[in-house]
């Protein structure tokens, strides 16, 4: 835990920070991939966010400080600023999973890609609300505070986002079933090397 207590040397700080990343990094990475849509962008986003967190690591307030929540906030804000700057253009996934292997891993990978693509087609605000509300399991009020909007707006985004997500995934399933016979059950778009 970062301390407002006695100043610690760099070695101790590095150890505590590395331990934090070991314990919490993967979950933030998974959140980031839902926000960005692909693992490369997610890795960049979390790395950039960790750099920001590290800068304030010695000064995170122990009374109110929750580095996990801080990092979540940084990830969301950084992703938003990247989006604003169009630094990360939301383009179709370039490297689809290997469709030749049809095993459990391939299924999971294909399914994940379809879900992320459906998320990516949502307006950014809806997508962010869904990720924070259902993946991070945050209450509406906390999502609202994080995004700087009202709980009512969060509720609306969540409702519309879920409805749109289900509709898109329903379309994918239908399309998938049409192709089932020729492409070994791969989700639509994956089989021919792209995600629509």
């Amino acid at each position: 835990m970062p301390a407002g207590g006695p100043a610690r040397d760099s070695h101790e700080l590095d150890e505590s920070f590395a331990a934090f990343v070991r314990d919490h990094g993967e979950r933030h990475l998974r959140m980031a991939v839902l926000l960005t849509g692909d693992w490369h962008a997610a890795e960049d986003l979390v790395q950039a966010s960790l750099i920001k967190l590290y800068r304030v690591w010695p000064r995170v307030d122990p009374a109110t400080g929750d580095p996990d929540a801080y990092l979540r906030r940084i990830v969301v804000n950084t992703q938003r600023s990247w989006w604003r700057a169009r630094w990360r253009r939301e383009t179709p996934m370039a490297d689809p999973p290997d469709t030749a292997a049809h095993d459990a891993d391939a299924d999971a990978s294909a399914l994940a890609a379809v879900i992320r693509q459906a998320l990516r087609e949502l307006p950014r605000r809806q997508r962010t609300v869904l990720v924070l509300r259902y993946f991070e399991d945050l209450p509406e009020a906390e999502v609202a505070a994080l995004l700087g909007c009202s709980p009512g707006t969060v509720k609306t985004h969540a409702h519309r986002g879920l409805r749109a997500l289900r509709a898109r995934l329903g379309d994918e399933k239908g399309d998938c079933h049409e192709r089932h016979g020729t492409r070994s059950g791969q989700p639509a778009g994956i089989a021919d090397g792209r995600v629509r």
């Binding site: 790395q47 960790l50 920001k52 998320l119 509300r133």
Partner: protein, 317 residues
């Protein structure tokens, strides 16, 4: 789809499945290690600016910097005396010594810095030796001001970037380039010569000054003044900071600043949703003497100097 397909009516399961293909080999600390390797080539001359990247740079141009000033005027003559002394002192050559300490509210030291040197504003010549100690280690910086340029060498270090040359040469930046009004009270946050005139901006825009009483020091007698400035608010995407500055200025009977003590309290802006920063307090004690003594400084040998458009060594990362 197969049997592992999550229920669309269970959004949590759906989103969990959306990240189930975590690829192996991702190193989340790689970016930080790369960044730190670069940062180690720089000196942490001071860590008051240990804030997210861009905070210092952005502050000059985009910070709120809403100077919710108390009115200048409790004692106009006191303000005039102090600002006049600062202007007079900064217009002649002087020697100085600065001690700066940043502490957490429990009094533990976060960083400490000392600077000593001399500056001749008429000939734009100056030299400083700066020693900084932070949680990241200790650094010593030699700084020379010649003409409109600042030369800096930091040890231990690896020189300027890939050139390996020990000295950096850069134009002396304007005061507003890197810092917001309340952050730099002496000049060295902005890579400028340390001068009593730097505080003038704060005093003129947001301060109450009053006479405390007579004062004296080694070889001088004069007057003690106290001032308060702020609160000063500034923000960027990650933090919102509120600063309060209080201080004491000792002016001798020749109208020169002899001693300048400032205390800057820094905390998060209440009610905002950005990072909460542990409050810190920075105490600076700056003394002046050796007025009108000649300052002899020459630039480092040309073969040891790398030119950069902006100072290579900066405060913080």
């Amino acid at each position: 789809m197969n049997a592992t397909e999550p229920d669309p009516d269970n959004p949590r399961a759906l989103l969990m499945a959306g990240s189930d293909d975590l690829p192996p080999g991702i190193d989340l600390l790689r970016g930080l290690r790369t960044r730190r390797a670069a940062a180690q080539r720089r000196a942490r001359r001071r860590t008051r600016a240990l804030l997210p990247a861009g905070a210092v740079a952005a502050a000059g141009g985009t910070a709120l910097a809403a100077l919710l000033a108390t009115s200048v005027g409790e004692a106009p003559s006191a303000l005039a005396a102090v600002t006049g002394a600062m202007a007079k002192t900064s217009a002649q050559s002087y020697q100085f010594s600065l001690s700066s300490t940043t502490r957490f509210k429990n009094d533990a030291i976060f960083s400490s810095t000392t600077v000593s040197g001399a500056f001749d504003p008429r000939h734009k010549l100056g030299s400083e030796v700066l020693r900084a100690r932070t949680f990241g280690g200790s650094k010593v910086a030699q700084i020379r001001f010649v003409g409109g340029y600042v030369y800096t060498r930091v040890t231990p270090g690896h020189g300027v970037g890939s050139t390996g040359k020990p000295w950096d040469k850069a134009p002396i930046p304007p005061l507003s380039a890197y810092v917001h009004p309340g952050q730099d009270l002496q000049g060295y946050d902005a890579e400028r010569p340390i001068s009593p005139a730097v505080l003038l901006t704060v005093l003129r825009s947001a301060a109450t000054v009053r006479v405390v009483g007579p004062a004296s020091g080694p070889g001088w007698t004069g007057t003690e003044y106290a001032f308060t400035a702020g609160p000063i608010y500034w923000e960027n995407a990650d933090v919102a900071i509120k600063e309060d500055v209080t201080g004491t200025v000792y002016v001798d009977h020749q109208g020169r600043v002899r001693r300048l003590e400032t205390t800057t309290s820094e905390a998060s802006w209440p009610g905002q949703h950005r990072l909460q920063i542990t409050p810190v307090t920075t105490t600076d004690v700056l003394t002046f003497g050796g007025f009108e003594t000649r300052v002899r400084v020459s630039p480092p040998p040309a073969g040891q100097v790398a030119y950069t458009a902006k100072p290579y060594w900066v405060f913080g990362i």
